[in-house]
């Protein structure tokens, strides 16, 4: 060795390099393909020193065998293979991926580079194969003659971030599946609810694909907005759940109802990033609820009306009664008749009833057996109110027939003829003729009872028609002539 030459580098090689630096210094390299440390070529020493001083995980694969020299950062990645891995041949040290490294060596020693991002490799870790991901960058290292003598690899394991991304993707897919599976309307709002980012309307509402600030006009009614905005403000202030039942403009142009709920998405600092919401179409539920309220209200009215009628019957029946037991019978019969009218109308949901069926039902309790009742002619549907009035009037007609008329002896009969007629001005009139025959000789009653008043005045006023009563000697008769439309509608 030339005395003029500088002090041999071996004296201070490698410089630093932490645990691996000391290992390299103390190991006996003479039995390895690299030979004794002081005989390593300068290019190998330079490359070794460079990687030892790097905080990035780097491994040098030297020579055809790829003998491995690496730094502290790489030893962490090597795990339990370290320290035996140091100085081993790459195809043997990482035997499970020998094919992969074979290619790396061939390409690197031919002077080319290789780069992999998130490359998946199955490595033996803790005694069993496990997937691992890494960013790998390979470049050739030249010897003193300028020929590639080794490959230097920067190895950054990305397993954690790859798995995190995969979990995120799976979570997003689950979320997408959930929002597809639900029939709820799904929406996203900006942090301050000024802008709707997106809304999937499920054919109930129109979709919003792009962010819009005009969402309130599109989906809500102006008069509802202040109340809804108050709930929004409260949710924003408390960073809590938004929950509100409100009206919406449906995609089909009709008015609907939704139960809408939204939760804020917060960032690490606790500030609202956006709102995620779901709304259930409750239009049908609201409609039924309203219908029920209406029915309860109407039922209350009918109950009160019935009570008032009972009172009217009582007042009228007992006011001038001389014979109390007989008045009680009349009163009871009237209540039974009222009850039957209620039964008839309940069956029709208090909408309308058949006129002939109404007359038939009203007279049933009074009719004797045999061919003593004949109901013929045209039938029409009449309103609940008309049916009630007809029931009460025909109850009185039946009562009178039993007491004084055609049903008071063994042979008399009642025939009722109904007819719908179109008169000259095109309007329809309905006529009911009640004729009694075969009964005892009829006498004009000395005074008008409540029943007769109910028949004459009540029915005329109720139907807007005229009522005629005749006490002919051969038989009592009654005639109603009323506008058919009024019987149908009022």
């Amino acid at each position: 060795m030339d005395s003029e030459s500088p002090q041999p580098l071996t004296a201070r090689f490698p410089v630093g390099g932490g645990e691996i630096g000391r290992l390299i210094q103390t190991r006996d390299w003479s039995k390895t393909p690299l030979g004794p440390l002081d005989l390593w070529p300068q290019s190998l020493k330079t490359a070794t020193n460079m990687l030892l001083l790097s905080p990035v995980p780097i491994v040098l694969l030297w020579g055809e065998d790829g003998v491995m020299i690496y730094n502290d950062a790489y030893s962490v990645f090597a795990g339990s293979r370290h320290p035996d891995l140091l100085g081993s041949k790459v195809r043997e040290g990482w035997s499970e991926i020998a094919d992969f490294n074979d290619n790396v060596m061939k390409v690197g020693l031919s002077g080319k580079t290789l780069a992999y991002e998130n490359q998946e490799l199955t490595l033996l870790r803790h005694g069993s194969p496990a997937p691992a991901w890494m960013n790998l960058d390979y470049s050739p290292v030249l010897d003193e003659s300028g020929k590639p003598a080794g490959v230097i690899a920067i190895v950054v394991e990305t397993t954690k971030s790859v798995l995190a991304q995969r979990r995120l993707r799976e979570s997003e897919e689950r979320f997408r599946a959930f929002t597809t599976a639900t029939t709820d309307i799904v929406y996203r709002m900006s942090a301050d609810w000024k802008e709707m980012q997106q809304l999937d309307g499920r054919n109930v509402l129109a979709d919003t694909a792009n962010p819009t600030v005009a969402w309130q006009e599109a989906y809500l009614f102006p008069e509802d907005i202040p109340a809804i905005q108050a709930v929004i403000d409260e949710a924003i202030a408390s960073k809590g759940v938004f929950e509100c039942e409100h009206r919406v403009r449906r995609a089909d142009g009709n008015t609907g109802w939704v139960l809408s709920r939204a939760v804020p998405v917060l960032n690490d600092g606790g500030a609202i990033v956006e709102w995620f919401g779901a709304a259930t179409d409750i239009t049908e539920r609201r409609r039924k609820q309203q219908q029920l309220e209406l029915i309860v209200h109407e039922l209350n009215h009918r109950v009160k009306n019935n009570l008032a009628m009972v009172q009217a019957f009582a007042y009228r029946t007992f006011r001038d009664a001389e014979d109390i037991p007989r008045a009680l019978d009349s009163f009871t019969a009237r209540l039974v008749s009222l009850g039957r009218a209620n039964d008839l109308l309940t069956g029709e949901l208090w909408s309308s009833a058949s006129l002939k069926q109404t007359l038939d039902q009203a007279t049933v309790p009074h009719r004797p057996d045999g061919e003593r009742w004949k109901l013929t002619g045209d039938d029409i549907r009449v309103s609940a109110k008309t049916a009630l009035a007809l029931t009460m009037a025909f109850h009185e007609l039946g009562t009178n027939a039993v007491r004084h008329g055609a049903w008071s002896n063994d042979g008399g009969a009642v025939s009722v003829k109904c007819s719908l007629q179109i008169i000259d001005d095109g309007t329809q009139r309905y006529r009911i003729d009640w004729d009694e025959h075969g009964g005892p000789r009829v006498e004009q009653p000395k005074r008008k009872g409540f029943g007769t008043v109910l028949i004459q005045r009540g029915l005329a006023a109720e139907t807007g028609g005229s009522v005629d009563i005749s006490f002919a000697e051969t038989g009592f008769s009654f005639r109603l002539d009323a506008p058919a439309d009024r019987l149908r509608n009022e």
Binding site: H297, N300, H301, V303, K304, N305, L307, A308, M309, Q311, A312, F313, Y315, R316, R319, K385, A389, M392, V453, L454, R457, G458, L459, A461, E462, E490
Partner: protein, 112 residues
């Protein structure tokens, strides 16, 4: 003192009872109206001291009649099965007779 009364009531059975009650109290029933047009006519030009006004007349509310009576300064009382909640706020404070059970004696307490 006998009063001249208009009965506005669309249920004839009830109307007749109210008439009887009023007559039993010694009053005179000037007219009974079952429909809105008739009621408006009598309320507009009848010689009346008092009116009993059913709120619902065959599906129509009788508040136009109340407005006419108020203008003419004729005392009246509502009769309704729907309770005081169904009364137009313009006539708040007017006596309301619950239609379930009538007691015309109570009308005497409500002279406006």
């Amino acid at each position: 003192m006998a009063k001249r009364v208009l009965v506005v009531e669309d249920e004839m059975t009830i109307a007749m009872m109210i008439e009887d009650m009023l007559m039993d109290l010694g009053h005179e029933v000037v007219a009974t109206a079952a429909r809105l047009p008739t009621a408006l006519e009598v309320a507009g030009d009848g010689n009346l001291d008092f009116v009993i006004l059913d709120v619902n007349l065959a599906g129509h509310q009788s508040f136009p009649v109340a407005a006419v009576l108020q203008q003419r300064g004729i005392p009246f009382a509502f009769a309704t099965g729907y309770g005081p909640a169904g009364i137009d706020p313009a006539f708040a404070g007017r006596p309301v007779l619950d239609q379930a059970v009538h007691n015309c004696r109570s009308c005497r307490c409500h002279r406006n």
